[in-house]
Symmetry: D2
Subunit: 304 residues, 4 copies
Amino acid sequence: MELIWRYGTDAQRKQWLMPLLAGQIRSVFAMTEPAVASSDATNMQATAVVEGDEIVLNGRKWWSSGLGDPHAKVAIFMAYTPNPDLGRHSQHSMVLVPLDTPGVEIVRMVPVFGEYDAPHGHGELAFHNVRVPIQNVIAGPGRGFEIAQGRLGPGRIHHCMRCIGAAEAALELAVNRGMNRTAFGRQILSLGGNYERVADCRVAIDQARLLTLHTASKMDRVGAKGAMQEIAAIKVVAPNVLQRVVDFAIQIHGGAGVSNDTLLTGFHAQARSLRIADGPDEVHKEAIAKLELARRGFSRRKPA
Amino acid sequence: MELIWRYGTDAQRKQWLMPLLAGQIRSVFAMTEPAVASSDATNMQATAVVEGDEIVLNGRKWWSSGLGDPHAKVAIFMAYTPNPDLGRHSQHSMVLVPLDTPGVEIVRMVPVFGEYDAPHGHGELAFHNVRVPIQNVIAGPGRGFEIAQGRLGPGRIHHCMRCIGAAEAALELAVNRGMNRTAFGRQILSLGGNYERVADCRVAIDQARLLTLHTASKMDRVGAKGAMQEIAAIKVVAPNVLQRVVDFAIQIHGGAGVSNDTLLTGFHAQARSLRIADGPDEVHKEAIAKLELARRGFSRRKPA
Amino acid sequence: MELIWRYGTDAQRKQWLMPLLAGQIRSVFAMTEPAVASSDATNMQATAVVEGDEIVLNGRKWWSSGLGDPHAKVAIFMAYTPNPDLGRHSQHSMVLVPLDTPGVEIVRMVPVFGEYDAPHGHGELAFHNVRVPIQNVIAGPGRGFEIAQGRLGPGRIHHCMRCIGAAEAALELAVNRGMNRTAFGRQILSLGGNYERVADCRVAIDQARLLTLHTASKMDRVGAKGAMQEIAAIKVVAPNVLQRVVDFAIQIHGGAGVSNDTLLTGFHAQARSLRIADGPDEVHKEAIAKLELARRGFSRRKPA
Amino acid sequence: MELIWRYGTDAQRKQWLMPLLAGQIRSVFAMTEPAVASSDATNMQATAVVEGDEIVLNGRKWWSSGLGDPHAKVAIFMAYTPNPDLGRHSQHSMVLVPLDTPGVEIVRMVPVFGEYDAPHGHGELAFHNVRVPIQNVIAGPGRGFEIAQGRLGPGRIHHCMRCIGAAEAALELAVNRGMNRTAFGRQILSLGGNYERVADCRVAIDQARLLTLHTASKMDRVGAKGAMQEIAAIKVVAPNVLQRVVDFAIQIHGGAGVSNDTLLTGFHAQARSLRIADGPDEVHKEAIAKLELARRGFSRRKPA
């Protein structure tokens, strides 16, 4: 929704944004591809070729979020639109594609650690010579990268805030379970290094929260570009903190922790997939390091 | 099977062991309980009370392994058989219970991170005044602990060997994926710290393998009791190494890693649940430390 | 100085605080003892016994900070002053002791990883029937604990701020060294996982800084007691972050890193000793966990 | 000694090996240089240029081991001997240089974390147009790399064995201290996660020992070249295990741990410097990964 609001035409807003805001329909975001490493967006193989008044779409996408929702009606499809006159970051387009357009194939839903995250879920889509009007291209052909970048800052902070909430919930579950069950004559939580791990969780969560607040505040003040290092930092920190707190909470729960009886397996899926989605940890760390070096006047030389 | 072979009567062997060995039926092991911390076996609440020629069983069990198999016909049920004349490690019994005995309720199958590990799986069982002949008690009432201890050494090493195989397979998957996909113009595996992580995995797996072989060899030479510290050590090491290698392999796979398209989510479930099953990490570490202190002449004083 | 200012009498302030503030003399803080675990202050063996107008001091202290300074003229000596009428936190006194008082023995200076931290340093002192006027007791006999507690909040934040500055300096050294030296045809910093480690350091330092600022701000608003959990948290975080950044910087420096040619070995000594001084990591983590449980209504039961 | 025995001429053996074996003199190994990253041996700047019957030596070396011994009489100096007709691994020579040769300057001794490791120690040497007979070149000009490689396998295993012994000693110190001192009414070792850390240390040491034994055994069977991956692995594992065990032991000792009153600071210096000497951790991990890939038929492509 935010994307159409920021980059869409009045016609696109009227046709798609209004019913989205009204909750009548839902959208699907189709960017990641199964056949290539999507952490490098220039790897993208799907194509969006302009032919007269139409744009022709081909390719395969997965982790298309929201596909499982019964109200999912439109996909935003990102693909390669070759243009030899423009630079490498102006070769991709984002296109609004009604899911009932001929040639759109819903291949399957994709689980995350066995869970389909109903009712939204993630799916796999194939596009076979799908034709839509050129007016469906958001902001015009070749501007896909620019749009994708503009979307990422707020989206990442949103993910991080949810991770911190989940981490607090996981710690709460661990403490309650650990204080209410006993083994060897003592409360589970008071055995061995468990208190230390409670402290480690508290300290990690608090630091992640402060970094998130600091990043959001800086983004508000200087924009997403000026807060790039902080955005990358919190995108690495928050899911990792959640994964660590959840791992502790699972251990305190014993068998119940790995069953799907508690929220913990869902939190685990959230943490583990977020270490990959929207840029894997390693890509963000590379970005942090580059900015750290640039600040000191070093440029990373391409290896010879 | 091993348990009936070692501790069963001729009649028990004939009735249950023969068809088990022939693959005609399968057994279910019912020890863990949902309502208490089962890491401390003295917490067990299920009861097995002798009444004349029968023994009456009540209680609830989960993580009963093998329950999902269509050939599952008999459970080994462990429960509390109060006997004021005997010590605290002589208060439990193991009883052979045909699953079609009146009062045995199959509550549900329990997933591990969303997977049911078909066809065997783990299940939840309730026993409501279940009556079986006293002859179904393995080795006689009150010997459950002794039997459980005897079973654990070889069982744990078996788990560890499987973890090491899985870790090798996960590393193989990571290397193949990481060398066959590219991002930012290079093979994924040659980016950032990935080579170092391949090395970390190799070194961790090799050390776990050597410790497993050493432990098995020592157990053969001096028995499970004399190899207690090593058995506890490998029970901690192997699942943790697997979890770490799988985490790396998932990261290299990107979205495919958290889907169920590869073996990795199954390996993850195996690693994570084994850090709890057959004694959680923390209990084994406590045992290792106690033996380390005892060797130096220190006894752990009960906290005052 | 702060302690005399807050708790001293006018006479004490005139005699000691003025020349301290003028930089004419320096003080030595003598609390830690070599023969017992000083993380538990009730272990203290040194005695300060009131006899008429005098107080008689006996005992051995080490890690008495500032003893190596040539202007060190007075020690604040903390010791056990038995008083059966008062509670266990009213059994200790802090006494001002001129270092030239008969019976004060300077045993030796104590190095930290081979460095004496000249010119201040840490020393070992023995007190043999040292007699000073009762007026030298700060705030009166039995108030040592109270004074010690009041001093710790600001002191700990001060330590943490210095750790963060040192960590920034260590990262700066690592980046400069790593970008200005080459191996295998590339800048050292661009080899293997080094960029990731730069990012890890940056993220860890930033989180520690935010937690320090947050803690200082909360202490200003609600006092040290209300910020106890945060003070304990930053006391654990900052030295550990410094130790980790220094370890990375040492590795980037190679042999120079473990020599005393750079600031890194000094930073290492600072980090490693601060994980022990003013309460070891483990004691602070225990405090954090207790507060975490208390907030949820759980009290830690004494083990039975 | 081993090097002269394996590669020296009869004359060299007679002149140097005999008095070395008799303990009358000691040798100094001068390979690492202060001005370049010595982890890449091709960085070496010191020169050894043949002029008629003599070889002329120039350059600066540090971490020259054994220089502090009063019986140190001869250095083995490794330097660049340009030869356009030979490959890049045939451009270096090892030369026997009596320390009293004109032009040899002993610059200083270099401490490791403040300790000089008396009586042997490490030093810094400068060579100013030092001339020695061509007969002093070991195995002839250009064979320095070959000799250096041949020496490393056994040398590394030797280092690792010493690390394991030191780690056992550090754990022993930790256990004795932790069981003999009390805090908060309990033995220190029974507080918080200390038992778990004892277990972690035991398990890590045992795995390192098994890997060392396995590596030594494999080297005996198939030679250092065939055991390259294992040698690199143990060279990474053993010093890191020692560093970790020492860190724990220091924490248990409190202030005494960072003083030089126990063996722990020396063990720390040993561990930390060995993570750099004879190839830093990162170089060995790179080697392990390359061999892992090669075994699977992948070659590491040079980045384009």
